[in-house]
């Protein structure tokens, strides 16, 4: 009767097993530093252009929309603080994570998926390497390290975008904007703004690896794994974001 639950429950179980093995792998040699650096370059530096663009234009629209609302209260000079809070707490982490999920969860899933269907994962095991240590660990480490960095950059670039609007269109002074933006941010905001991307980074990479490694059914299977990885990672980003926000709001 409950057969329909079997597949999702088994998937969750497999995901937990993979996560646990990756976690244990953090303390197990070999460490493959070169692979980790390579992934940091591909995932982190490679995502930089799109993350910068996303951050910049989000900052611009935020400033435009907020200023319009603030105008009704005659508080346009509060644009800086409002944009800063929204970006650092929510939009920066979530938008960056979604962009990185679209780019890298897909990239990881399709790369590992292709390796799986061409027996390269089996070859790796047969030739003496554990795919969890060689493939999963470097990707999870690289993404969870780079994600906070990317988010910080996106936040900053977003503020620059907002500043351009504030300065040229809203006629705010430079110090008005930046002082307001800087003063409003508390320790809590920054911690939350960096904890979120750390968690999202782990989710993006581990979900990408999970779907990649369980790919079956040839090239069609690779496509399916890629789509699933992006969808599942994105959904988890929203769900976990709600949980983390709730925790920090209650603090």
């Amino acid at each position: 009767m409950l057969d329909f639950l079997k597949t999702p429950v088994l998937s969750i179980q497999d995901y937990i097993v993979l996560s646990w093995r990756t976690f244990k792998g953090l303390f197990t040699s070999p460490h493959y530093f070169r692979d980790t650096l390579l992934q940091m370059d591909t995932i982190g530096v490679g995502s930089l252009p799109i993350v910068v663009l996303t951050g910049f234009f989000s900052g611009i629209v935020l400033a435009l929309q907020m200023s319009r609302a603030l105008q009704t209260y005659g508080a346009v000079n509060q644009t800086g603080p409002i944009v800063a809070i929204t970006l650092v707490r929510e939009l920066g982490p979530v938008l960056t994570a979604l962009v990185v999920a679209g780019r890298n969860a897909a990239g990881i899933a399709s790369e590992l998926g292709s390796m799986k269907v061409t027996e390269q994962i089996d070859a790796m095991r047969a030739l003496g390497t554990d795919p969890v240590l060689k493939l999963v660990k470097p990707r999870v480490l690289a993404t969870s390290f780079m994600q906070p960095c990317l988010t910080a950059i996106a936040d900053f670039v977003g503020l620059v975008g907002a500043y351009i609007i504030a300065f040229f269109l809203l006629r705010l002074t430079t110090s008005e904007f930046w002082n307001g933006a800087y003063r409003i941010l508390e320790y809590n905001d920054v911690v939350q703004g960096l904890l979120k991307p750390l968690v999202f980074g782990i989710v993006i990479s581990s979900v990408g690896c999970f779907y990649g490694l369980r790919t079956t059914g040839g090239t069609q299977g690779v496509g399916r794994a890629t789509t699933q990885a992006v969808v599942v990672a994105s959904v988890w980003i929203f769900v976990l974001n709600a949980f983390i926000t709730k925790t920090f709001v209650s603090l």
Binding site: M115, T118, E119, Q120, D122, A123, M124, R125, A126, L127, G128, T129, D130
Partner: protein, 270 residues
Amino acid sequence: MPELVLRFDHVTVAFDGDPAIEDVSFEIRHGESLVILGAAGSGKTVILKTALGLLRPDSGSVWLFGQDITRMPEKQLFEIRARCGILFQESALFDSFTIEENVAYPLENQTTVRCPPEQVRPRVEEALRFVELENTLGKFPSQLSGGMRRRVGIARANVTEPDLVLYDSPTAGLDPITANNIMALIVKERDVRRATTIIVTQRFQDGRIMAKYRYDPASKELELAGTNGQPAVHGLKFLVMKDGRVVFEGTEKELGESADPYISKFVMRD
């Protein structure tokens, strides 16, 4: 009696309840060769993967080099796998690595091989020279033809000079000339290194080359075994698989004489 290298004891492997191989038993000793014949989907590849512990049996037990690997943890398996070489069906070369890095991979990663770094390059070159591809070191697998990739796969499987070498459909999808060249290389590896060899194939001709030819180091060519002073091939067994079950086990002669209609389809009689 030579050391027992691999033993399958009533092994069944199933996927989602569907058995891919069922109640398979056989054994192979040091220096012997085994040819597993069977149509596509008869479970040949599953046998090879189970032999290395890449797949786990649902029932029965697998013994590799005297150790029961049926439920052995992956970490321990790496030590045993280091004594084995395998050529996968589509070669399974790492396509982000160069040919040199591919062949060097087992030397650098097999836990018990521990090849000193300065010896990696010469050994890779030697292995590639063996398969006559020494000029491809810096190329990527995608730049090579199917037959060449298969040869690199053979070099990678043998570079650590393993005691047991497994070949999964080495001639599948190749033209007859290339297929025979590949088989010649496999016979050469077998006779030069005296490695225990298991080959899985759909082509009866592959088995026949294994049974009838020997590599002659003097002429550097294959010669008919049992003539020109070449010893006959000993210790070669055939296994025929049908729908996951072993339907025949015996020598080439017994295979040729079998009256079973399914087996006859595989066997080309002179």
